[in-house]
């Protein structure tokens, strides 16, 4: 086997292994989110369960924060809020961006390209700015929707380009020549793209929306107490971070693990980095 061939055969194996790690991590996170009320020792936002800013110990594995809240319990609740909101946002990004992008690619060429151009311009604007703008025009309550809409232009562009390339492929051209209608071809593309790429697209959107939502919350435009997400927890720990590192480090670690798992599950695709 040549060196090139050997490398090309190793790379898919490595990628598959990384994807498996990513999906396994997301699975564990999903379990933790589903059982967060059971796993957490204390309900969300309950203060005074321990001394203020106590270091990690046997009683409080992640320590306590300024209000005496158990950081482990708060991190689990924060992870739950973050994942649920990111999941909703990712659904919006896929539905609005991906689906409309696929349909736009099947519109008359001029119309499709005009939409593609407009979305390309929006995709060039940092998604964080778009999300803050959308929240400002609506309400903090709609932050997941805003984050999903902010990630949608890039999803639109990617879906459009993929479906456009498919519709201009030789096999589609030949199918049309033998009477296969545009709707059958669209159905064919949606079926196979849904089967082959939905999981990857969903994981990619989840990573992108998680970053947007956490940053928005960190800046104070997102989640509001008592429903604290990881971004808001990190923001709240800023004042004490230098002398009580655990208040910010553990929520940040949870956030990093969530995003890393989603990125690994999405084949380390960097395409929708906000």
């Amino acid at each position: 086997m040549s060196a090139t061939e050997s490398a090309s055969q190793t790379a898919p194996f490595l990628r598959a292994a990384l994807r498996l790690i990513g999906w396994s991590g997301l699975g564990l996170i999903a379990v933790a989110v589903a059982l967060s009320d059971f796993l957490a020792h204390f309900p969300a936002g309950v203060g005074g369960v321990g001394p203020m800013l106590a270091a990690p110990s046997a009683l409080h594995a992640f320590g306590t924060d300024l209000l005496g809240r158990d950081v482990l319990s708060e991190t689990l609740h924060g992870l739950s809020v973050t994942v649920v909101r990111a999941f909703l946002g990712a659904l919006v990004a896929i539905a609005v961006g991906g689906l409309f992008g696929a349909v736009a690619a099947r519109l008359p060429r001029v119309m499709g390209l005009t939409l593609r151009g407009a979305m390309g311009v929006l995709a060039a604007i940092p998604a964080l700015l778009l999300a803050i703008l959308a929240i400002g025009l609506s309400a903090r309550l709609y932050a997941p929707l805003a984050a999903g809409l902010a990630a949608a232009p890039l999803a639109f562009v990617r879906a459009h380009d993929r479906v456009d390339a498919l519709s201009r492929s030789t096999h589609a051209e030949y199918a049309r020549a033998t009477g296969i209608s545009a709707s059958t071809l669209l159905r064919r593309d949606l079926t196979y793209e849904f089967r082959d790429t939905l999981a990857t697209v969903a994981a990619r959107a989840l990573a992108a929306v998680t970053i947007i939502l956490s940053t928005v919350s960190f800046l104070g435009f997102g989640a509001t107490p008592p429903a604290r997400d990881l971004g808001l927890m990190i923001a709240a720990a800023r004042a004490n971070y230098l002398h009580a590192w655990w208040t910010a480090a553990f929520p940040a670690l949870a956030l990093v693990v969530l995003i890393l798992c989603a990125r690994l599950a999405a084949d380390l695709d960097e395409g929708e980095r906000p």
């Binding site: 086997m1 096999h171 589609a172 030949y174 049309r176 009477g179």
Partner: protein
């Protein structure tokens, strides 16, 4: 070069990969000026032979046996002895041997310069002289293009000139002219034979087709599953006094028949396809193409690449819009209908092509056959499965796992799958574009039979696009010969074969007439 004239001696060469033998105790001796054509199907072991001789064997190849180059000692083949002779490698232009962003001329000049150890300017001059000596080759300036814009035939000329300019002792030709069209192959092979005679190099030519076996002379080594089936001169192997496998391979030998076609009557039904004044060149003032094809009839559009036959077929299929003219299918002008109505009419058109990307690689084998049925007819699942099974059986794919995706199928399987998809559509017209391109001799024979069976049993009209008169004759009764986007000759194929009027027609017939091997029409 060896004093004794022996250039290459391979003894008991075996190549295995992952436990499976690619080549099994292969032995061959080759003298200066001698040619050996290694003939076999894809995967028969030719690739392993070239890999070892060319020095690009894989690390996982388990190699045994010895190789001796020229006068040097025989050395273990696993260590690929450094050749004491000069070896030139002649690749196929379709194997993408060039880097995309650099001009072909520059790349070829660098190869010659490195092999001869000469300055680049001098290598370029050698290349120019080599190209000038090749009868029928384009001028050097043509090669000054990047690979993406240069046609494969010109690239093949460049590669041949590059190999000859190295003044080799041994030339390894790895399917160099596969799929270039019979006329181009004939000219290239004639030029190669002339250069071999002039320079006296030994030639080892691997091929899946029969043209080189017929035109280069010398020995033909028939190889199957890594083993030599038999060897001998092409004329003997083609004569019928040969191994059963060899006879099967030689069944694909181009054979033109001067007998009147049997079974298919010239009397036919209503016109199915009518083309009026179709002009393939924008803004030209010449008279457009006009012809008609009746129901159940068959017409071959024969010509070289770029002659206009494919443009005509694309216009008929609606893939391209011709600048002027009308295409009437089943009494309806396709250009004036809305898209949905055109789609309805096109259901009765099947398209079978030699392009490997004609089918969606994501679809499964079953889905590919089912799609026309599900898209056009409201049939129950059982009926769809029944039609699918019958069609797959007809083309010999019934035993394949129907859940395999098209991407995992071989070129031969993909080609037969196209026919199965056409069969379930019950078309009135089948447009067949170079259906044998890229297939080995064995697969070509089967593919001809599959297409003939399709036509016999379902009776669609056939519009055959090819540069090979034997394919035209196997699938059609009438022919139109194209040149420069014009019809230069038309009529029943047998009449055209008996008395071709135009030089281009004579060239096309000569291209598939192998001296001493195939029956040649009296006019050629």
């Amino acid at each position: 070069m060896s004093d004794t004239g022996r250039i290459l001696e391979i003894a008991e060469l075996s190549v295995a990969r992952s436990g499976a033998a690619d080549l099994d105790r292969f032995s061959l001796a080759l003298d200066a000026g001698e040619s050996v054509v290694v003939l076999g199907e894809a995967g028969s072991g030719k690739e392993a032979l070239i890999r070892v001789l060319g020095g690009f064997a894989d690390r996982t190849d388990q190699i045994s046996g010895t190789i001796r180059f020229g006068n040097a000692e025989a050395r273990p083949a696993a260590k690929r002895p450094r050749p004491s002779i000069r070896i030139a490698y002649l690749a196929s232009p379709l194997a993408q041997p060039f880097v995309g962003h650099v001009g072909v001329l520059g790349q070829l000049s660098r190869v010659v310069a490195r092999k001869l150890g000469s300055p680049l300017a001098s290598a370029r001059e050698e290349l120019r002289l080599a190209l000038e000596r090749l009868v029928g080759a384009p001028p050097l300036a043509v090669l000054n293009e990047k690979p993406g814009t240069l046609d494969p035939v010109s690239m093949a000329w460049g590669l041949l000139a590059c190999a000859c300019a190295q003044t080799p002792d041994l030339m390894l030709a790895d399917h160099p002219f596969a799929d270039l069209g019979p006329n181009a192959v004939r000219t290239l092979l004639t030029a190669l034979a002339a250069e071999q005679k002039r320079l006296g190099f030994a030639l080892l030519y691997t091929t899946e087709g029969l043209q080189p076996a017929g035109r280069l002379g010398g020995r033909v080594v028939v190889i199957r599953d890594g083993k030599v089936v038999e060897e001998g001169p092409a004329a003997r192997l083609a004569s019928g006094h040969a191994h059963a496998y060899t006879r099967t391979l030689f069944k694909a030998l181009p054979q033109l028949s001067l007998d009147e076609p049997r079974g298919r009557s010239a009397a036919r039904g209503q016109p199915l396809l009518q083309v009026y004044g179709l002009d393939l060149v924008a803004g030209s003032r010449r008279e457009g193409l006009t012809f008609e094809l009746r129901r159940g009839a068959s017409l071959a559009l024969v010509g070289e690449e770029g002659s206009g036959r494919r443009e005509l077929a694309r216009a008929v299929l609606g893939l391209d819009h011709a600048p002027a003219g009308r295409v009437v299918f089943d009494a309806v002008d396709l250009n004036i209908l809305s898209q949905p109505m055109t789609s309805r009419l096109r259901r009765r058109i099947a398209f079978i092509t030699g392009a490997d990307d004609a089918l969606d690689p994501r679809m499964t084998l079953w889905d590919t056959v089912d799609e026309p049925l599900r898209a056009h007819l409201k049939l129950s699942g059982d009926l769809v499965a029944g039609y699918r099974e019958a069609a797959l059986k007809r083309v010999g794919l019934a035993s394949h796992d129907g859940r395999r995706t098209v991407a995992t199928l071989s070129a031969f399987d993909k080609r037969r799958l196209q026919v199965a998809r056409a069969i379930v559509g019950a078309p009135l017209l089948a447009v067949v574009d170079e259906p044998l391109r890229g297939l080995d001799a064995f697969a070509q024979t089967i593919m001809r039979e599959v297409l003939t069976d399709f036509r016999t049993h379902q009776g669609p009209a056939f519009l055959v696009i090819t540069s090979d008169f034997t394919v035209a004759q196997a699938l059609a009764e009438e022919v139109m010969v194209f040149k420069d986007k014009k019809i230069v000759e038309r009529g029943p194929i047998v009449d055209v074969l008996r008395s071709p009027k135009e030089a281009v027609t004579r060239d096309l017939i000569a291209a598939v007439t192998l001296p001493g091997l195939s029956q040649s029409p009296p006019s050629v």
